[in-house]
């Protein structure tokens, strides 16, 4: 129990290793390491205070939203063995439902923008979460009859069908029973104003003003406040899922993942457990869609919800180790910091220090220049392809992990599925037992 099973813990000297054992230490030290890295890059790039704060804010924002999604994937896959690769679909259901419901009714909105049902935002958000949960219920039904890999195909198809539906021009704007609403089709749709930003534009204005008087850009207040609100949601999600995991409910889920038939032969209605786990996760994804795509950018298009996003979320879980909630968070921090945002940071550093001149060439031209000894065009080309670089990096990490450490960083960790501390109880019981022996209690 004291020897670490993860590659980092094993290499630490004993004193540090005992700190590393604690979950919060794992999370915060990884976060601190990545933050430090980004601060260093910021220094090298000559960022001022606002620039550094902004860079960290963007990083934190991405860690938080990917973290929430990764925790759900861990609940579905790491705990229940449900192979959900339609993650983005449920996020889309959440945000589109909330948006369509909350947009002002026809005739009351600025010209040219899509009308909706005029539902107050808080209600619309609740409706969005519930609709995502309902979508989760529908999607979970095939899992009861299908083998896991076929179920995965169903979830992927589900998400893609939703995306294409939201993109279709037929549903762009429709009128049913006198109500006009729509999805905005391929162009997308304005969602709703960010409640946090609205607050700081009205009653919170004095705080912003106070900050501005010190010379800082006042925008950091609403921006960071929003990130903190999201962080609260992440912490709430972590709390919810850890409690679910450390309980009889979580125990049965683990049993289902391990051996569903054996679990059934122990009088458990496994279908009921699978559906519940799936629906809970999808409800959280619905909320995530609302706050990530809806509140954050104020605009949502169907092309935000592509399978690539689902796969990035999965990579975070795989790096951290499926089955461990803490591992999932650490994996997310590393994924976002190094793989997602890494290429962009490297590119900025290269531009700053290597001083590549010229415009980005086409690939054939770059190759041609390489042959004649000029590497600048190739470099320019490579570093322009940040999104491609992310995918390449992701692929490389996946291959490496599959070969060297398929269980991820913390996949060996067993998070005990009980609502009480079993280690504690066992120790106490054993102490009691040895006490009984000395007084001549029942031996064998």
């Amino acid at each position: 129990m004291s020897t670490a099973t993860d590659p980092i813990g094993r290499r630490l000297p004993d004193t540090l290793a005992s700190y590393w054992e604690q979950d919060l230490v794992k999370i915060f030290s990884t976060l601190a390491a990545v933050y430090t890295l980004y601060l260093l890059v910021g220094v090298l790039l000559g960022y001022d205070l606002f620039g550094q704060l902004n860079s960290l804010r963007r990083l934190t924002f991405l860690i938080v939203v990917y973290g929430i999604a990764a925790l759900v994937v861990n609940l579905h896959w790491g705990y229940s063995g449900l192979f959900n690769i339609g993650v983005v679909g449920f996020m889309a259901v959440g945000v589109y439902t909330a948006t369509i419901l909350s947009r002002p009714v026809a005739g009351q909105n600025p010209t040219g923008s899509l009308p909706g049902f005029g539902v107050p935002l808080p209600l619309a958000i609740v409706a969005g979460v519930l609709t995502a949960a309902a979508a989760g219920y529908v999607a979970a039904l095939p899992s009861l009859r299908l083998r896991n890999d076929y179920f995965a195909i169903v979830t992927l198809a589900f998400a893609e069908i939703l995306r294409i539906t939201f993109k279709s021009s037929e549903l762009q704007e429709i009128t049913v029973f006198g109500w006009t609403f729509g999805t905005g089709g391929g162009r997308g749709i304005r969602t709703f104003s960010n409640p946090v930003r609205t607050f700081f534009e009205t009653s919170g204005q004095p705080i912003v003003a106070a900050v501005e008087s010190t010379g800082l850009d006042g925008k950091i207040i609403p921006d960071w406040s929003f990130v903190f609100v999201l962080l609260t949601i992440l912490i709430g999600t972590y709390w919810l899922i850890s409690r679910l995991s450390a309980s009889p409910f979580g125990r049965v889920l683990k049993g289902i993942r391990d051996d569903e038939e054996a679990t059934q032969s122990l009088a458990k209605n496994t279908s009921s457990f699978k559906i519940r786990a799936f629906v809970i996760g999808c409800a959280i994804l619905g909320l995530l869609g609302i706050v990530w795509q809806g509140a954050s950018s104020g605009y949502v298009t169907p092309d935000r919800f592509i399978p690539e996003l689902t796969f990035f979320i999965w990579i975070a879980v795989i790096i951290g180790g499926a089955g461990s909630n803490t591992g999932t968070i650490v994996g997310t921090i590393l994924f976002v910091g190094l793989i997602l945002e890494g290429p962009g940071q490297v590119r900025r550093l290269v531009e700053e220090f290597v001083g590549l001149s010229g415009s980005v060439p086409t690939f054939p031209d770059a190759l041609g220049a390489l042959v004649s000894g000029n590497i600048d065009p190739v470099m320019l080309y490579v570093f322009d392809q940040t999104s491609a670089l992310r995918i390449i990096l992701t692929g490389l990490v996946l291959i490496w992990l599959l070969k060297r450490r398929p269980q991820g960083l913390f996949g060996d960790r067993q998070e005990v599925a009980s609502a009480i501390n079993l280690e504690d109880r066992v120790t106490k019981r054993r102490e009691r037992g040895s006490g009984a022996q000395t007084s001549g209690g029942d031996g064998n």
Partner: protein, 254 residues
């Protein structure tokens, strides 16, 4: 207690069960023997509900349970173990033991989450822990309580399989070769425990290949061959059909 009547089952043209009928009386240890391929495991699968018979009936404490699913039969008190132990490898032994019991309030998701209500779940867990620990002590594997079940030796896995099944408080336990790969002294000890449990009111239907064991410890024996029940009776009665048994089993019966 448990009876099967004219069970028929074929798999893609191959007949596995061809009119299997027998009765298991309450508070007995009954043996089910026969050569490999006789249909013993298939019979267990049909009784427990893992597969549906093409024809025939399974009756348990007077109720027709034919075609019920495994979770339905086991929740009625009819529990089976597997020939190859199916312990949950990614959990500790204790978690394995605490999973089965019925009516755990914490199996409702919301009860495990809400702050005040979770206290009830924790109280349940404490009781469950005590029960699990005592059962582990009964089988002398309490020292393995916090080990990952995947690290257990073959014999230990068999013990866990049995102990875990007992956590469900079953009335009838179908044991599929529970002593295969278990050393003889441990086997004798386990049998003593089973007899103890039988004296306290449980019923066992045991599939085994160890003839000595079967003859010495089972009150009744059912012999199967080629998907049919050949002979049922006390050890003496079955032994006196010796020639039949020798012909089919080709082994010595002491």
């Amino acid at each position: 207690m448990l009876s099967v009547n004219q069970l028929q089952k074929s798999f893609q043209g191959v007949t596995a069960l061809d009119g299997v009928s027998f009765e298991v009386e309450a508070e007995t240890i009954t043996g089910l023997i026969g050569p490999n391929g006789a249909g013993k495991s298939t019979t267990f699968n049909v009784i427990s509900g893992a597969i549906e018979p093409d024809a025939g009936r399974v009756t348990f404490t007077g109720e027709d349970i034919t075609g019920l699913s495994p979770d339905q039969t086991s929740s009625r008190g009819l529990v089976r173990t597997f020939q190859i132990a199916r312990e949950f490898k990614n959990m500790t032994v204790l978690e394995n033991m605490m999973l089965p019991p019925k009516n755990q309030r914490g199996e409702a998701a919301w009860r495990s989450v809400l702050p005040g209500v979770r206290d009830n779940v924790q109280a349940d867990e404490e009781e469950l822990f005590e029960r699990a620990w005592e059962m582990l002590e009964f089988f002398d594997i309490d020292h393995l309580a916090l080990e990952d079940a995947g690290t257990l030796s073959g014999g230990q896995r068999k013990l866990l399989e049995l102990a875990r099944a007992l956590m469900l408080d079953p009335d009838v336990l179908l044991l599929d070769e529970p002593f295969a790969g278990v050393n003889p002294s441990l086997e004798r000890e386990l049998l003593a425990r089973l007899e103890d449990l039988r004296d306290r009111g449980r019923t066992f239907l045991l599939v085994e290949h160890d003839m000595d064991l079967i003859m010495q410890h089972c009150e009744r024996i059912i012999v199967m061959h080629q998907g049919q029940t050949l002979v049922t009776g006390s050890p003496e009665e079955v032994r006196s059909e010796e020639q039949v048994i020798e012909a089919y089993l080709g082994g010595e019966v002491t």
